[in-house]
């Protein structure tokens, strides 16, 4: 199998039980999801709150097991108990709350946590930690207490923690939701660099559109299903569909749609400020 991540007809039910262990309610969180991601891809998963995107993320790390269907990580079925640690090592995870995933009291100790659990020999650890801290752009803080770091810095510590396990794939579950714009930029830049330089497969789960512009592909989720998918250009041109799913498009795309609706010939697939300015100027200076 060539894909690093593949799901087939994946479904998951959250089952709520009362005190006696009897089933009180069943809620379908994801339903019939088929995705496949190749090594080195940067894939974004977009969706409003409650669309099932976090539940999907937790399947990629075998934190949840499918109610139906199958998830393969690098060819390993996540229901195979014997492969569970290898699956978790392959697909590392970064979560939303920067505080609630750092275990160490010093940055480098925390980064070493994953490889220590994997039983990596002690003499190999400092090198791995140093490499990972550098790749995540957080090396200068290696001796700091995580409590003295900003949110964006803490998230980069967590990214370094995944890298130190030599994961080939990193799943980020709304890593920027609790950060300010500068922290958000830092994290996204670090993630893009990993994808570009280290060729690490990235699955970025978010509801910030701006963060998905550089993705190779976007899956848009709604009601536990993949509503549609495509390249950022394809996805963003469906402004109305996105709005129906409680999502919005970046300002550039909104302005370009406004102008198109007003009768200007602006291509529907422009994502950057410069691109839009060029297109408008071209149209403006034409035909005179």
């Amino acid at each position: 199998m060539k894909e690093i991540i593949k799901t087939k007809n994946l479904g998951f039910d959250y089952i709520r039980r009362n005190e006696n262990g009897e089933v009180e309610s069943i809620a379908r969180a994801i339903d019939g999801v088929d995705i496949s991601i190749e090594p080195g891809e940067f894939v974004a998963v977009l969706g409003a709150n409650g669309s099932g995107k976090s539940t999907l993320a937790r399947h990629l790390n075998a934190l949840l097991k499918p109610t139906e269907g199958t998830v393969w990580i690098n060819g390993m079925d996540t229901r195979d108990e014997g492969k569970i640690w290898e699956i978790r090592r392959t697909a590392g995870m970064v979560f939303q709350n920067p505080d609630n995933q750092i275990i160490g009291q010093v940055v480098d100790e925390d980064v070493a946590f994953g490889p220590e659990n994997l039983g990596v020999p002690a003499e190999e650890l400092p090198g791995r930690v140093e490499e990972s801290l550098k790749a995540a752009g957080i090396y200068e803080f290696r001796n700091s207490s995580p409590n003295n770091l900003s949110g964006g810095q803490k998230q980069r510590v967590s990214i370094a923690g995944v890298l130190a396990m030599h994961s080939s794939c990193i799943v980020l579950d709304e890593p920027t939701a609790m950060l300010d714009p500068l922290g958000r930029n830092d994290v996204i830049r670090a993630v893009r660099a990993l994808n570009y330089v280290e060729n690490i497969t990235v699955i970025l789960i978010t509801h910030y559109m701006e963060e998905t512009i550089y993705a190779d592909r976007i899956y848009v989720m709604d009601g536990g299903k993949v509503a549609f998918s495509g390249t950022p250009r394809e996805v963003y041109s469906r402004v109305e569909d996105l709005e129906k799913l409680r999502l919005t498009v970046p300002p550039v795309v909104r302005l370009s749609k406004f102008l198109r609706d007003s009768g200007l010939h602006i291509p529907a697939d422009i994502l950057t400020e410069d691109g839009l300015a060029d297109a408008i100027a071209k149209e403006y200076n034409a035909g005179t």
Binding site: L63, W85, D99, N100, G104, N117, G119, A122, L125, N147
Partner: protein, 265 residues
């Protein structure tokens, strides 16, 4: 609330700082035992010599160590008064029905010296050792207890996590108090019962958050392949080097010296 510090680590690179944390725990333990072994002036002089040299080597400011004593001031005064007035013996001073005896003065001075030395000695350990190093050392020292099924690794992990989250939760409590004050909550007036009741709107969000954090952390640890202490390696394994063995030798000398002062003199 941000000032909540456990262990109040005082960063440095002195000889004492660089000792293996296990050595520091054992030394502190030996020192405390010595304090209760000695019973005469030469004996106290030996323990004082040990403490003074350790403090000097650690380069921790003496003022800081003395400041640490303020916490037990009440205990010291209480012990002093108790021993001073209630020890029977040769009366040297009397005031109405209160009597101070020669024996009372001696016992009081001894108690105070022991107490001050004990606190200074153990705070020197926490000043020169990071809390995580202490947790690691405890895990290592308690290893023999594994035989009797004491979850040594888990206890050490719990201590580490608690140490990391105490400042975070303290800060969070501060925010919650402010958020409820913004809703006109009153924490400062009324009877004890009323004030205790007023804390419910703080405690509920704090507990909910603590459970949430615990849950998040458990998931995050699982995602990072945590499966208990077996087969785990350590980036900085605790290893003894020459100076650690020398320190153990000093500990042995201290204990021996103290016993000798008791036996010979």
């Amino acid at each position: 609330m941000k000032g909540v510090v456990l262990g109040q680590y005082y960063p440095g690179d002195s000889l004492i700082h660089s000792l293996d944390p296990r050595v520091k725990i054992v030394s502190t333990f030996v020192f405390i035992i010595s304090l209760f072994v000695v019973d005469n002036v030469p004996g106290y002089a030996v323990t004082a010599l040990f403490l003074v040299s350790a403090v000097a080597l650690s380069k921790v400011p003496v003022a800081r160590l003395i400041k640490g004593l303020s916490g037990i001031l009440v205990l010291m005064v209480f012990t002093a008064v108790f021993n001073l007035f209630l020890t029977p013996g040769e009366v040297v001073f009397s005031f109405y029905s209160l009597q101070i005896t020669r024996e009372g003065i001696i016992v009081t001075v001894k108690m105070l010296v022991r107490l001050v030395f004990l606190i200074m000695g153990s705070s020197l350990m926490t000043y020169t050792t990071t809390p995580s190093a202490l947790a690691d050392a405890l895990e290592s020292l308690m290893k023999p207890l594994k035989v009797v099924k004491v979850p040594v690794h888990e206890i050490s992990m719990m201590i580490s996590i608690a140490l990391r989250f105490i400042p975070i939760l303290a800060e969070e409590a501060d925010i919650i108090i402010k958020a409820q004050k913004a809703r006109c909550a009153d924490f400062d007036t009324g009877s004890v019962i009323k004030r205790a009741k007023a804390m419910i709107p703080v405690l509920v969000p704090l507990f909910v958050s603590a459970f949430r954090r615990a849950n998040d952390l458990a998931v995050a640890m699982e995602a990072r392949c945590y499966r208990g202490g077996d087969n785990r390696t350590r980036m900085r394994p605790l290893t003894y080097c020459a100076r650690d063995y020398r320190a153990y030798a000093v500990d042995a000398a201290l204990l021996l010296g103290c016993i000798l002062t008791r036996v010979i003199l």
